[in-house]
């Protein structure tokens, strides 16, 4: 949790303490070299025409205008919005409920927690290949069980593929967020629940008026990770469908990759990359502004 200790105003503020600034230098240098520098490079490249082989040619704003006006880019942007929103609507409630459930101290819940946690240990390429085989209408689950809904062409039907992908991505990431919520719930002091019980609050009311408000910052953290994470999510989608069928799952990160490393149009690919960075930054700034995480303080004053 992101508590800041600002709650003791009575003492005179001592001179700045904590580790000296130079301890941050290696991390900053690393970040600059491997994050900021390439980012700057991509920004420059987004104004250039380059096929990966010859000499990059300056093209100015032309590439930006062309890429932004391209219906394919817009369609990919819209698909990304759907992907992010539906992913969030699917993952957030499931993760919250699972987290609250596994936070209980009962044995069987611990056993479940271990099982739920497993997908987090698998590599996303492995998850992708396994799900692709399971969802295969010819050789997948439908062969093991009686045919029916299982033989649906999940990844091959342009109307279903995006949602099938969202489900698999959710399956892979829910455990992580459930873990966040589990930790969050376990930090809520038992005294709050005792007080609520004394006041005659039932299970639902305890969840609604004690657990949820206490989880506020966990929700902010988890939601930010979920939204920004699915905005730039790539590997599982790439393994599952590669953007297909047609372009049904060609979300922006895939569009960037395919444009850059299949069509070898580094300029437009860089435009999409810059676009993704901008949207991602705006989104996380917006989230922290709305949720007030910049002003985060402990809500447990008096409870401990």
């Amino acid at each position: 949790m992101l508590h800041r200790r600002e709650a003791e105003p009575a003492q005179p503020r001592p001179a700045r303490q904590g580790p000296p600034f130079w301890l941050a230098v290696p991390a900053l240098a690393f970040f600059g070299l491997f994050a900021l520098l390439p980012l700057g490079g991509v920004a420059v490249l987004s104004f250039m025409e380059w096929d990966g082989l010859g000499t990059p040619r300056w093209a100015g704003a032309e590439i930006w205008l062309d890429t932004l006006a391209d219906p394919a880019t817009r369609a990919a942007l819209w698909r990304t919005v759907v992907f992010v929103v539906v992913s969030f609507l699917f993952q957030a409630p499931v993760a919250l409920l699972l987290g609250v459930f596994t936070a209980g101290r009962q044995r069987y819940r611990a056993a479940f927690a271990v099982l739920y946690f497993l997908p987090l240990l698998f590599s996303s390429a492995a998850i992708g290949i396994v799900f692709r085989s399971l969802l295969d209408p010819n050789f997948g689950l439908s062969r093991a069980f009686s045919p029916g809904t299982l033989s649906t062409n999940w990844l091959g039907d342009p109307d279903l593929a995006l949602y099938a992908v969202i489900f698999v991505v959710g399956w892979a990431f829910v455990p992580f967020h459930a873990l966040l919520y589990q930790a969050g719930v376990r930090q809520i002091p038992a005294s709050l629940y005792e007080a609520a019980t004394l006041d005659g609050a039932g299970r639902w009311q305890q969840f609604r008026y004690v657990t949820l408000p206490q989880l506020r910052y966990t929700i902010v953290t988890s939601s930010t990770l979920m939204l920004v994470g699915s905005l730039t999510y790539f590997d599982l989608v790439f393994v599952l469908t590669g953007g297909g069928p047609g372009d049904a799952t060609r979300i922006l990160p895939l569009d960037m990759y395919l444009t850059g490393f299949r069509s070898y149009q580094m300029g437009p690919a860089s435009v999409i990359a810059v676009l993704l960075v901008a949207i991602g930054l705006a989104l996380s700034l917006f989230l922290s502004r709305v949720s007030g995480s910049g002003r985060m303080q402990s809500q447990q004053a008096g409870a401990a």
């Binding site: 491997f34 520098l37 390439p38 490079g41 991509v42 420059v44 490249l45 250039m48 380059w50 096929d51 990966g52 082989l53 010859g54 000499t55 990059p56 692709r132 085989s133 969802l135 295969d136 209408p137 010819n138 050789f139 033989s151 062409n153 999940w154 990844l155 091959g156 039907d157 342009p158 790539f234 590997d235 469908t241 590669g242 297909g244 069928p245 047609g246 372009d247 990759y257 395919l258 850059g260 490393f261 299949r262 069509s263 070898y264 149009q265 580094m266 690919a269 860089s270 990359a273």
Partner: protein, 444 residues
């Protein structure tokens, strides 16, 4: 010099982008001999003629790997460092490395648009004079793919890969029909198999590129090779040729008639699921490259020896193309990197002249069930284990008036990607032939 630096910087940028995409491969190959080079300098490699080459995994590639092993065993002073890559990983990596002047000495390619790019940027050298002996032994229809504007920049190095029609003989016997040789017979066979609950044609729609084989063959049968040549030449509105529209219409008719079943978009070729449908008796026919023959033998030897049939693509009634024409990949090719030192280039050329399609490699290829594009092998093929299939494929290639290189290889990569996307939408019924034609004309 300025350009080199700019190019190297740009390549570094791309590499960094690739890293952020978690496309993490191994260490950069080729560094074993020249660690600590600073990019793009020709005189960097003082030591002898140690060359390098990148090859692929799977298929017939072990034959090539063995050939390099033999070379290294006999040439201590001219070793060739070999790295193996998975197909897609290779395609991404080779481009960046060629662009940054760090390419291996021997650059493998499929000719077509990629080779044209390399040539346009002076990244491969003219090897016509040095390899005349080798190209003289190769079938002209294959060798000519490595020639651009009359100059030989690439020479074939493995098996010729025509696309053929495989079928399950048992299923045809059960249905009591013959293998289709015309379009009408094809439609009839589709109806018969569909009624019997069998997928008429297995198609790996998830991989998309197998769908190209259909449009390539149909266009060639209907309008001849000139139609696609016009596209390659960049003639305005070349995609508007009526032959292409008719081919697209026929494809959509076939899809609607249930010719590919209703789940072809979930079938992936990289897991050989399309071949599996045929050898498990759930699909009757498969239009695929000659390499699938080996897949059948590995995955289901019993089926492959007893019930696997193969033939050429049906004729189209009223079409002006020669029914003996074939499509596919003529072969993989070797080019020699322009950024390699003279010694490295010499090693590479020596290897090409002495070891490519030498006696031992030919034997190894025939044993593996692949067809070398070398003239005059009839007798050796007749004595091989797979004489029937190899003889069929060899004859197909030798008698073909025209061998069409796969369109996605022949076209520049940005156009090829457009083609694949639009074609998959044609198969899914999401766009009409006219929309396809308009979209593709816009790329010319």
């Amino acid at each position: 010099m300025r350009h080199t630096r700019l190019r190297a910087a740009a390549a570094a940028m791309v590499a960094a982008t690739a890293l952020t995409l978690a496309a993490c491969g191994g260490a950069s190959p080729g560094d074993s001999t020249d660690a600590g080079t600073d990019g793009g300098d020709d005189a960097q490699n003082g030591e002898g003629g140690a060359a390098s080459a990148w090859i692929l995994t799977g298929g017939g590639w072990p034959v090539t790997a063995a050939s390099f092993e033999r070379w290294n065993g006999e040439h201590d002073d001219q070793p060739i460092a070999v790295e193996e890559f998975e197909n897609d990983a290779f395609k991404e990596k080779i481009r960046t490395s060629v662009g940054s002047g760090e390419a291996p000495t021997l650059i493998m390619n499929w000719t077509g648009g990629t080779l044209a790019d390399y040539v346009a940027n002076d990244q491969v050298v003219d090897i016509g004079a040095e390899t005349a002996d080798l190209t003289g032994r190769v079938m002209p229809s294959v060798a000519q793919n490595g020639v651009i504007d009359g100059v030989t920049y690439a020479v074939p190095m493995n098996d010729v890969q025509p696309v053929v029609l495989y079928y399950n003989e048992d299923l045809f016997a059960q249905a009591g029909i013959e293998v289709p040789t015309t379009w009408q017979e094809t439609l009839d066979a589709v109806a018969t198999f569909k009624d019997a609950g069998i997928i008429p044609f297995s198609l790996a729609g998830q991989s998309v590129w197998p769908e190209l084989m259909w449009i390539q063959y149909l266009t060639d049968r209907i309008g001849g090779p000139e139609v696609f040549q016009a596209v390659l030449d960049g003639e305005p509105d070349a995609w508007s040729d009526p032959a292409i529209t008719e081919a697209l219409t026929k494809i959509q008719e076939l899809v609607e008639a249930g010719g590919f079943g209703d789940a072809f978009a979930s079938v992936a070729a990289d897991q050989s699921a399309d071949a599996a449908l045929v050898h498990t008796g759930r699909a009757a026919m498969l239009l695929q490259g000659s390499w699938v023959y080996a897949t059948f033998h590995t995955d289901n030897p019993e089926f492959a020896t007893s019930a696997l049939g193969f033939t050429s693509f049906p004729e189209i009634e009223g079409g002006s193309g020669d029914p003996a024409n074939i499509v596919g990949n003529p072969a993989n090719f070797w080019s020699v990197s322009a950024s390699a030192s003279d010694e490295e280039q010499q090693t590479a050329l020596d290897y090409l002249n002495e070891f490519v399609y030498d006696d031992e490699q030919l034997t190894a290829m025939l044993d593996a069930g692949s067809v070398p594009p070398v003239a005059g092998l009839e007798d050796r093929i007749a004595q091989s284990d797979d004489a029937e299939y190899l003889g069929f494929a060899y004859g197909l290639v030798q008698d073909a008036p025209h061998f069409q290189l796969s369109w996605d290889q022949a076209l520049p990569s940005d156009q090829a990607q457009e083609l694949l996307t639009n074609l998959s939408q044609i198969f899914l019924g999401e766009i009409t032939p006219q929309q396809f034609v308009d979209a593709m004309n816009a790329t010319l």
